[in-house]
């Protein structure tokens, strides 16, 4: 009996502890947020003077922590450029980052903190699951939102504007490619996160000319997927789609190859990172492609952009969503200029009115629901230096 009690007690105590910790943390965050807001006083009501604060929620801790810096430096580069051009009506932009840890609870606390700090725009959002609950907070506080990375369909039509194409648009290009290579039986694997399941659902829904013979889910916190690999192989597919992130993706690809699957594998944009090849290993990464909005190294003028980025990032290379974060800031700055200030309604109207705004990843126009028209997804493959993804097929034909 003692065992039973202590074991169950241990479990419940851990969760209780985590819960208490989370509450304590949110209180702490709220307090610091409040004091920040009080200290900066008149700043939160826009006096038309001082810096315009842009808030960015991104994961700086947890398993997705690597993406936080990619996004932060991209946004900072754009802000430096806007400020060097004289800012918005003579006011400088200023970036305020908060850690959402890719966790909805932490994200809500962090969003509240940004609002109390008096941000006039939100240019963050990486994990769809963490971004979703922050939308009403920013909307209530009348903070215009331009989301650089998160692209779940759940986010569409909630008042936010999206730089990255949606899951539906991404799935469209994936389906186009699968048809192009003539695959017939496809297995779709997700990692149980919002973004991944959404993209996998979209691919399954839009399947046309081929059949999704099996849907598989893995737990990205594990390292051994042999059981899943077994189940995939038993379906005998001639195409595999992975919609999760690169950390687990690399391992999964390696283990699929080890299990004897040699066919093509298509990964979603969350896996498009040079690390995917490093984790999967040089032999396993062959015949892998990804859907992605264009990255700087595929673009004209991309070299200069990368060089500029490295100045901001202390020499680190840009990663996924660096350029989308850069463009989110540029887009919002353009909207401020067109709106003649930071008034919420005017800025939102200015964002809606943007027509073919030239950006590195292509001209941008927002659809009525806030998503990006066209999405701009292309097919990339990890054949560049050190496994970097390069353009393979722009799906135009």
């Amino acid at each position: 009996m003692s065992l039973k009690r202590s074991a169950t007690a241990r479990k419940s105590h851990r969760s209780r502890l985590v819960a208490t910790g989370a509450v304590a943390l949110s209180i702490g965050l709220a307090l610091t947020g409040c004091s920040g807001g009080l200290a900066s006083g008149g700043d939160s009501g826009d006096s038309g003077k001082g810096n315009i604060k842009l808030g960015m929620l991104a994961p700086f801790s947890g398993s997705e922590a690597a993406f936080g810096d990619y996004m932060k430096f991209g946004a900072q580069l754009a802000i430096n450029e806007v400020n060097a051009d004289g800012g918005v009506d003579g006011r400088d932009l200023e970036l305020v980052t908060e850690d959402d840890g890719c966790d909805p609870t932490a994200a809500v606390a962090a969003a509240n903190k940004l609002v109390t700090a008096g941000v006039k725009g939100s240019v963050g959002g990486y994990c769809s699951g963490a971004t979703l609950p922050t939308l009403p907070i920013f909307a209530d506080a009348q903070v215009p939102m331009v989301i650089p990375a998160a692209n779940s369909n759940e986010l569409v039509g909630q008042g936010a504007f999206m730089i990255n194409g949606t899951g539906t648009q991404q799935a469209e290009s994936a389906v186009k490619y699968i048809k192009k290579v003539g695959a017939k039986s496809v297995v779709v694997i997700d990692d149980n996160t919002d973004y991944s399941v959404d993209l996998a659902d979209s691919v399954e829904k839009q399947a046309d000319g081929f059949k999704v013979v099996k849907r598989e889910s893995i737990n990205p916190k594990e390292k051994d997927f042999s059981a899943n690999v077994n189940s995939v192989l038993s379906a005998n597919p001639d195409f595999v789609v992975w919609t999760g992130y690169y950390q687990a993706g690399g391992l999964l690809i390696n283990q699929l190859r080890g299990g004897g699957y040699d066919g093509p594998i298509l990964v979603g944009d969350g896996s498009v990172d040079a690390q995917l090849a490093a984790i999967a290993g040089p032999d396993s990464i062959k015949n892998v492609v990804g859907t992605f909005t264009r990255t700087p190294d595929m673009l004209e003028g991309g070299d200069k952009w990368i060089a500029d980025y490295k100045k901001v990032s202390n020499g680190a290379d840009p990663g996924p969503y660096s350029i989308q974060s850069y463009e989110a800031v540029k887009t919002l700055a353009e909207a401020y200029k067109n709106a003649g200030g930071t008034d919420y309604d005017a800025v939102v109207k200015a964002l809606k009115d943007l027509k073919d705004f030239p950006l590195l990843t292509g001209d941008l126009t927002f659809a009525a629901d806030g998503s990006r028209e066209g999405g701009g997804f292309v097919i990339v493959e990890p054949t560049g230096e050190d496994g970097a993804f390069v353009l393979k097929d722009d799906l135009k034909s």
């Binding site: 009996m1 003692s2 065992l3 039973k4 202590s6 074991a7 169950t8 007690a9 241990r10 105590h13 851990r14 502890l17 801790s61 947890g62 398993s63 997705e64 922590a65 690597a66 149980n192 598989e216 889910s217 893995i218 737990n219 916190k221 594990e222 390292k223 051994d224 997927f225 042999s226 059981a227 899943n228 077994n230 189940s231 038993s234 950390q247 690399g250 391992l251 390696n254 080890g258 299990g259 004897g260 690390q275 490093a278 984790i279 290993g281």
Partner: protein, 297 residues
Amino acid sequence: MFQLIWNGLFVGSFYALVALGYSMVYGIIKLLNFAHGDLYMLGSFLAFVVLGGMTGLFGLGSIPILLLVLLITMLLTGGIGVLIERVAYRPLRTSPRLAALITAVGVSFTLEYAVRQIFGASPLVFPIRLQGAPVEVFGARITMPQLVLMLVAAILMFLLQRYVMHSREGRAMRAIALDQKASLLMGVNVNKVISRTFFIGSALAGAAGVMAAAYYGTIDFLMGFVIGLKAFTAAVIGGIGNLYGAMLGGIVLGLLESFGTHFLGGQWRDVFAFGFLILFLVFKPTGILGERVVERV
């Protein structure tokens, strides 16, 4: 079918190695050492560092170098385990068990985020990756590295079994597990034995970490969390505090997962594994090799 069994055995042998440490510590001081999974993580990171230094000296070897790294890492993780016990658990030994339990959670987070601060949040690619051409045995694909790793795991478990069951020090451990106070009165150096237990348990977790890193090829600072829970589950299924139980529990859990995933789908893997944990806790808390648990008030 044979592939399912093989996968289960392979994953199970890792669970078993980690579960042994859990079980030993619980058996002796009735503490669920929450930081145990993180020692597994720490093992892989230490091996990463040691290997960096080694390959500078000897060039990039494969299995012999890795075995040497394994040994060094086991000593290091074992040492850290002893240190953790000394700093975090010993001062609380007479406190209510809950205090030590919460401390263990704290130690777990401390290890995780210390490693994150030092090595960064992104997964690191391990410099050696053991992979060989698979051989077909009864329709299952088996690779040489898998065989070697399972062999190493089996050898470690065998040595541990010899040590605990057939040596003086092992007898001291078993004595303390039965009655700490009486052992003290009989002249057993309790602190020393507990330190030794932590050393062995941690070293085994470290060894599992090194082997997993070399086999799967990546390491990250959160990799110990899930395996910690799984090892706990394995220990409970086998009968916590029981040496053979931990080994058996690891293998059984590996097989359960392998078959469960096959028949229910990958989404159900963890539901299935932890569902069994609950079933065991409710209906047979002493596990398969049901050891009598004496209620001490």
